[in-house]
């Protein structure tokens, strides 16, 4: 009868049933019609002891191969300082919920305010919300936001150089929400500016989505994009890998209205796809159109500075079907994760890590080309990720990499591989991988 997660003794159960005035636990479900009452046994294993559970997951873990990662495509193997998991595992953060009761949630409210401040700095924008699910859904929500801000315009232009995973999420949301998506052509690994200008001029465009660096790792020249978008009453939405913005020209500097993307690159483990964190920052004038939680400063009854969830009139629990989005809880603990990460790295550390990644990637690209088997796919600037064309069998090469303990890039098409390098990759690792070619 007794079990580690249930404190009730039989005597207590009886006493409690007595106060309620029923004879059995079964009787508590008197309202459930007999025809749908579940009285069988779940077809699940019997309870396991903690040691058995641990053993089972260790066995499962052995079926995963630990690879040295040279792949990116939106998820990067960055370094996580030891402090970060130490802080986020503190149960006062971990086991709390949305800070509805500000008086006993200032820990959460402070870090969200710090997170918003840091993300606004990183993206060069005015404001940030408290987080989104991931980079793909944040971008899709930005499209909805653009259409909601754009009065009658119902179309969003999306560059072909945006990550295909992001594009398919945008298309999914748009299909159901009733937004027309039109793709902007790519030429030689970059957005076709002439095609963009032509499509923007057609009218009815509420937003334009570009990615920087783009899916292929190219750092594009988006000069003039914001002006063209604004001249056509459209918002410029720029998707970026958060960590890259420590050194690259920011969405704010490019003139973007909404900056979105994934924050995984700020030290979050890859964890087979999640949890990560989507970020969304924008110009101040758009703040009331933003989805998600926002924390603001205020005062308490004793005159102290305090923080609180604010501008809630945008949200589903107040506005129901008229809300800016249905999003409520999403990735708060991951906001703490990246906030602690950025606090430790600071302005210099974030820059230094980005410069190391840049140097490693450029070293690797040079060495790959030097083997004579690879050529750069695009003659364009890149950051820490790049595409190369291989003159042999890509599948066989990638298998060889795996057999030797490397996740050797993402195959983009027939003979193109995309490699990513972070500050975690050593010269020795790069040289060992290249020696396999």
């Amino acid at each position: 009868m007794s079990y580690k997660y249930f404190p009730h003794t039989e005597a207590e159960v009886d006493e409690m049933l007595g106060r309620i005035g029923v004879k059995s636990l079964e009787e508590l479900y008197a309202e459930v019609p007999d025809s749908i009452r579940f009285r069988g046994e779940y077809d699940l294993p019997e309870a396991m002891s903690e040691m058995e559970v641990r053993r089972l997951f260790r066995e499962l873990g052995k079926e995963n191969k630990q690879l040295t990662c040279f792949a990116g495509a939106g998820v990067y193997d960055h370094y996580t300082p030891a402090v970060v998991p130490g802080i986020i595992s503190r149960s006062e953060y971990l086991t709390s919920y949305t800070p509805y009761q500000a008086e006993i949630s200032q820990g959460t409210l402070h870090y969200i305010f710090e997170y918003q401040s840091m993300m606004a700095e990183l993206t060069g924008m005015d404001v940030s919300n408290a987080s989104m699910y991931d980079g793909t859904t944040a971008t899709a929500e930005a499209c909805i936001m653009a259409v909601a801000s754009g009065k009658k315009a119902g179309k969003v232009l999306v560059s072909e150089t945006v990550d295909p995973k992001t594009v398919r999420v945008i298309k999914t949301y748009s299909k159901f929400h009733g937004i027309d998506i039109e793709m902007i052509a790519a030429v030689d690994g970059a957005t076709d500016k002439a095609d963009f200008e032509r499509k923007a001029a057609q009218g009815g465009v509420a937003g334009v989505v570009v990615q920087q660096p783009n899916y292929y790792g190219v750092v594009e020249d988006y000069s003039g994009y914001a002006d063209t978008a604004h001249a056509n009453k459209a918002l410029l939405i720029m998707n970026s890998v958060a960590a890259d913005l420590a050194v690259l020209k920011t969405p704010g500097e490019w003139g973007a209205d909404i900056a979105v993307g994934d924050g995984q690159s700020l030290g979050i483990p890859m964890s087979f796809g999640g949890p990560y964190i989507g970020y969304m920052c924008c110009r101040e004038k758009l703040i009331r159109k933003m989805p998600g939680r926002i924390v603001g400063m205020t005062k308490d009854s004793r005159g102290q500075r305090a923080f609180v969830l604010t501008l809630q009139a945008r949200e589903q629990h107040i506005r129901r079907q008229k809300a800016t989005s249905n999003i409520c809880s999403n990735e708060s603990l991951m906001a703490l994760f990246v906030t602690v990460y950025m606090s430790l790295m600071g302005k210099a550390g974030l820059r230094e890590a980005a410069e190391l990644s840049y140097a490693g990637a450029h070293y690797m690209a040079e060495r790959l080309v030097a083997t004579g088997r690879f050529v750069m796919a695009y003659d364009r600037p890149f950051f820490n990720e790049f595409c190369v064309r291989y003159d042999g069998d890509v599948d066989a090469l990638q298998k060889k990499f795996i057999d030797n303990g490397f996740f050797g890039g993402i195959k983009v098409d027939g003979n193109t591989i995309m490699f990513a390098v972070t500050e975690k990759r050593t010269k020795e690792e790069i040289d060992s991988l290249i020696a396999l070619v």
């Binding site: 997660y5 479900y29 309202e31 509805y100 087979f272 589903q316 629990h317 990735e331 600071g346 140097a359």
Partner: protein, 486 residues
């Protein structure tokens, strides 16, 4: 609560030139980033040494309250215990270091865990198959509605654009319908707090895509007419959507599939004990009845007896980059395996026992608008004695002084002074008795010294906050905060 150390922002502890990190030396030689690609100046992030950062976030955690601190009866949120073994498993490098695009042959263990949870949820829900990809409950609702629309469209039934939602529903239900491009129609509740079947009859026609419900509903009442409702909805060609927010009391008692639901989501962070994390990450798996599998979003894993890694691409619905919040999926799977079939079925009855015990112990002093047996939660409409002027807000704030998290307040919207109480199955009788005693004490204080209650909390690091000021003049970044100070 650590009121002495209340206050600073990390930016205010920053000193130029300090650092809290160490990185390896550049061994690649000089590869300089061209100026034209660079931002004009560094992001103004804090500069702190490592211990300053650790102390800052450690001290701030003392200004927070979690399930591990004490009783957290937040209605509709199922604040249950978050076992630590699940944290250990989620952090195992064998899972944490996997890139989501690794070939299936190099991540079989992860795929098996995904599939294992998917199958366990199907069994517990009485549905055919689950995707674990949606990131949260609201995201699951949106995904589920996309599935329902896709089903209708596939049959050429394109005029079904309405979703029926009870007036007691959580705000996410209508909001998810709107994001999905559907119109919301509200069905009334009866005086007994359940769906008014007569009202529903008048709303059903061939423009209805789905009926969204929780069962038990947000008042904690079991919708007894569910077989009849499901029959009527199916009769008119629409589908039944189950919002899994209130699934906990149904463990061991009733399965949504058996109630007649076709599509549902589960909040892993509620029913399956993954930590709420201050508002995520959770995960919102979506399950469907047999015959609807082809409409599930793409990018799922299903293992069968012969191959352990079928990567399924069923539809053109994509709701995220990869496979959901995988580390959350691991925690929930570990929780289910730990409980096992014999304990999972005890979760519901014990949660329901706790809720009814509190309700019966307090209904003489708090207004119980619908005096009926409840499931895992119930709603008071404030204090019975309204003459003192003490509101639900005041009661909630006074509870903080006594070391309890407040219940959910002012929801559902059916009552003016809603106070929604949900004790999870993990709470002991003495914890609950302590809560009951304090709730009674607050009722007494409301008569004896109402000002003490109206001005609560007194023992927390801060007093009541000015919500109006925050919204009227939004200061949402340190940059603005600093400029205003100057």
């Amino acid at each position: 609560m650590n009121s002495k150390l209340y206050g600073n922002l990390i930016f205010e502890l920053s000193h130029e030139g300090r650092r809290g990190y160490s990185l390896p030396k550049n061994e690649f030689g000089r590869y300089d980033i061209p100026d034209e690609l660079r931002r004009r100046e560094d992001a103004a992030l804090p500069e702190c040494d490592e211990m300053t950062v650790v102390r800052h976030y450690t001290n701030h955690s003392g200004n927070n309250f979690g399930v591990n601190n004490g009783f957290y009866p937040l209605g509709s949120c199922t604040m249950k215990y978050n076992p630590l073994i699940n944290e250990e498993i989620a952090a195992m490098p064998e899972f944490a270091c996997l890139h989501p695009l690794q070939p299936a042959s190099t991540c079989r263990g992860a795929i098996k865990a995904y599939d294992g949870l998917q199958k366990a949820l199907s069994e517990i829900s009485g549905l055919e198959r689950f995707t674990l990809n949606p990131f949260a409950g609201a995201h699951g609702e949106l995904t589920g509605l996309m599935i329902i629309r896709s089903y209708h469209i596939s049959r050429g039934d394109t005029k079904r654009t309405k979703v029926i939602v009870p007036d007691s529903a959580h705000g996410t239900n209508p909001a998810s319908a709107a994001v999905c491009g559907l119109d919301v129609v509200e069905v009334k509740s009866t005086a007994d707090g359940i769906v008014d079947v007569e009202d529903l009859k008048g709303l059903l026609d061939d423009t209805v895509a789905a009926m969204m419900m929780t069962n038990p509903n947000t008042l904690g009442l079991f919708e007894q007419n569910i077989p009849e409702i499901a029959g009527m909805v199916h009769e008119c060609g629409a589908l039944m959507y189950y919002d899994g927010a209130n699934l906990n009391p149904m463990l061991g008692a009733c399965r949504p599939g058996d109630m007649g639901f076709d599509v549902m989501h589960i909040n892993l962070h509620k029913t399956f004990s993954t930590p709420h994390g201050g508002g995520g990450p959770g995960d919102g798996p979506v399950g469907v009845r047999k015959g609807l599998e082809q409409f599930l979003p793409s990018d799922n894993f299903v293992c069968d007896a012969t191959s352990s890694d079928k990567h399924t691409v069923d539809s053109d619905i994509f709701v995220g980059a990869y496979h959901g919040n995988f580390a959350v999926i691991l925690r929930a799977y570990a929780y289910i395996l730990t409980l096992g079939r014999e304990n999972i079925k005890r979760v519901g009855p014990l949660a329901v026992l706790n809720a009814n015990y509190i309700k019966e112990s307090l209904k003489d002093v708090y207004e119980l608008p619908i005096d009926a047996p409840c499931m895992h939660e119930f709603v008071f409409d404030g204090l019975r004695d309204k003459s003192t002027g003490v509101t639900t807000m005041d009661v909630a704030k006074r509870l903080l002084d006594y070391g309890y998290h407040a219940p959910t307040i002012y929801f559902p919207l059916l009552f003016h002074e809603s106070l929604m109480i949900e004790p999870a199955e993990n709470e002991s009788k003495e914890t609950i008795d302590g809560f009951i005693a304090v709730m009674r004490k607050i009722a007494e204080e409301s008569v004896a010294c109402p000002e003490e209650v109206k001005s609560a909390p007194h023992g927390t690091p801060i007093g009541r906050v000015d919500d109006v000021l925050a919204a009227k003049h939004p200061v949402v970044t340190y940059k603005v905060l600093k400029s205003e100070k100057a």
